[in-house]
């Protein structure tokens, strides 16, 4: 499925600039994400991929530029509102570390629902369904340390999707996995996203992972160097 780009983008960034100390991580990057689209942002290490994701997800504020979500500027929202946005509208998956080590897989997935004020029984039931969809229901009482890398990432995906977010931000979600486990995780993510119409912003430097996306943007030294078909050409 290819996203319909004729409508207004769900998430858009214009001229983003962000510096870490003296190093400019982003130098005027503009990017758009349509509803239901899977967009891969690729590029070498240090090209600003993760910083772009952090800005778009409202984790850090850009120094300059604007970010809109659903037509609303979000780069100037107060931290509490951004936190709520990430909890309700966005889902976030990192390479590792996003699961609380002391919580079981089931409780990790139920946590966003509990934070949203849902009852324990209801939250655990929904969490169980998502674990079932990702094929890790059998491991629901295990803690992250007892799961394999692939299982842990599928639990992380379930946690990111359990609230029914509009956008999932995935920062190198398969970076710590072998190729088979990586493919299983990506297949699960792409399938769930297409089924629920969720947009995905995928950060990766692996061309095989980027191939799951509808569109690809390449960053180099904090600037966008290619997009769409051009990106494929540059990749080659």
């Amino acid at each position: 499925m290819t996203a319909d780009n004729s409508t207004a983008p769900l998430l858009a960034a214009r001229g983003l600039v962000k510096a870490h100390g003296r190093t400019e991580a982003l130098r005027g990057v503009s990017v758009e994400l349509a509803a239901g689209e899977i967009l891969a942002v690729t590029g070498p290490s240090g090209s600003g991929k993760s910083t772009l994701l952090h800005c778009l997800a409202g984790i850090v504020r850009p120094d300059r530029g604007a970010i809109t979500y659903g037509g609303e500027r979000i780069d100037q929202l107060p931290e509490a509102r951004l936190s709520e946005l990430r909890r309700t509208e966005f889902g976030v998956v990192f390479q590792f570390g996003q699961l609380i080590p002391e919580l079981t897989a089931l409780d990790n997935v139920a946590l966003p629902l509990l934070l949203a004020g849902r009852g324990r029984t209801e939250a655990r039931a929904s969490a169980g369904e998502w674990l079932e969809r990702f094929g890790v229901r059998g491991q629901q009482e295990l803690r992250p340390g007892e799961l394999s890398g692939g299982q842990a990432q599928r639990v992380a995906l379930a946690r990111a999707l359990v609230t029914g977010p509009e956008v999932v931000f995935a920062d190198e979600p398969t970076g710590a996995l072998d190729s088979l486990a990586g493919e299983q995780v990506m297949t699960a993510l792409a399938h769930a996203a297409r089924e629920s119409g969720t947009s995905v912003l995928l950060i990766t430097h692996d061309a095989r992972i980027a191939a799951y996306a509808d569109r690809e943007v390449i960053l180099r030294d904090g600037a966008e160097v290619a997009e769409g078909a051009d990106a494929v050409e540059v990749s080659r």
Binding site: H20, S50, H54, A57, I59, V60, A80, S83, E84, L85, R86, R87, T88, F90, G91, V92, F94, Q95, F96, G97, Q98, I100, P101, E102, L103, T104, D107, L111, P112, L114, L115, G119, R120, A123, R143, R159, A160, D171
Partner: protein, 450 residues
Amino acid sequence: MRNDLRLARLLVAGSDRREWWRITLTAIGALLATGFALAAVVLGALRGHHPLGIAHGLFDNPGERQGVVISLLLLLVPVFGFLGQCARIGAVHRDRRLAGLRLAGATPAQVRRIAAVEAGLTCLAGSAVATVFSVLLLVLNWSVPSGYAWAGIAVVALGVPVAGMLVSVLALRRVVASPLGWVRRVRPQTRPGPLFLVALVLFTGVAAVAYVSMADHRGRGAVLSGPLLVFAVLLVTGAAALWLVGATARLTGRLLAARTGRPAVLIAAERLRDDPWAAARTHAAVLLVTAVATAFAGIRQVLLEVLDSQKHLGASRAFYTTGIDLTAVAIGVALVITLSGLAVGTAESLATRRRGLAAQVAAGVPRAVLGRALLLETALPLAPAVLLAGLGGMAVGTGYAALTDDGGSRSVPWAALLVPLAVYAACLLAAATSLPLLRRSVRPGELRYA
């Protein structure tokens, strides 16, 4: 050994800010330990009547001096607890560094030696400062210190750094540094170790001996067996409370984790269920201080009543009240050191988990929820344990009141019950001092590196 020293020096010199916190706090702990121990050995070296002209003559006679020496030695308990906590600050960084050493070809024994030398050097710095200060004070106030005093000073000045090295080796016993560059911490036992159980049996034995001793000498010997019984009861109370912390932490965690719908409680409960003994180690000194402080509050009330009721005292009233006040100060100092250890432990716990916490915040978990979870991790296991320690101390105070009651007019020192409440509140405040660190610990920058 020379290479170990050189490496330890290089590692200390190249440490980051967090490591310097650990080094500074460890040196302060060593300074306190050396200071208390030096004061104890110097006072202990005095023979016979020796007018010092301080504290209304409380230190002039051997009997009272002995009590002061014991109090100073007891103060070492919270100081060592504090040192143990300091050793854990930056443990993650240190563990990674140890893995790096293994990767570079160091053997496991070398790694332990380097870590021990590093801790020893840090303690030596604190010990040296305390020793120089104490010797200057001693020479200025005591024209010809005895040979015992000098020998004691030398033993303490060298003994504290050696103790620091041993503690470091002990702390590393569960750390396995692999030459492949990873470090793993072997999970502690989920129940008290054999050493703990042996100690508990020993304490109970002391209590039994004290009880039998008192029974045999009921009447004229009660004065001698009383303090022994008090000591034994305090030890048993402390040991039982320590064990209770772990047991109740696990039970509380299990019960709450299965029922709660509140995210903060869920996170705290699961952490307690996962490793209940981590809290027990941190809170051991808190419980001992609670028991001692509660008992003292009761005893103090009784002693003041006795003083008020006596028409003729062996010495001036100030002599007795100064002794009581000095004991209160010592307990207060112990409490402050213990609370400092608790605050350091909470901060260390945050520092260790900062990357995971940053990921939680990035995923939308409010900082307030994480802050509440952090406080609950202290509040939940401490509540029943502090209660028991307080009741144990209260029993001692009440028992002392009964022992000294000759006319049935002695009142029960109920006011002592406020002590555990105050300690509990102080513990929560100490844990809360880490909350400002939470904001800095969850920086998005933490997400950029493993």
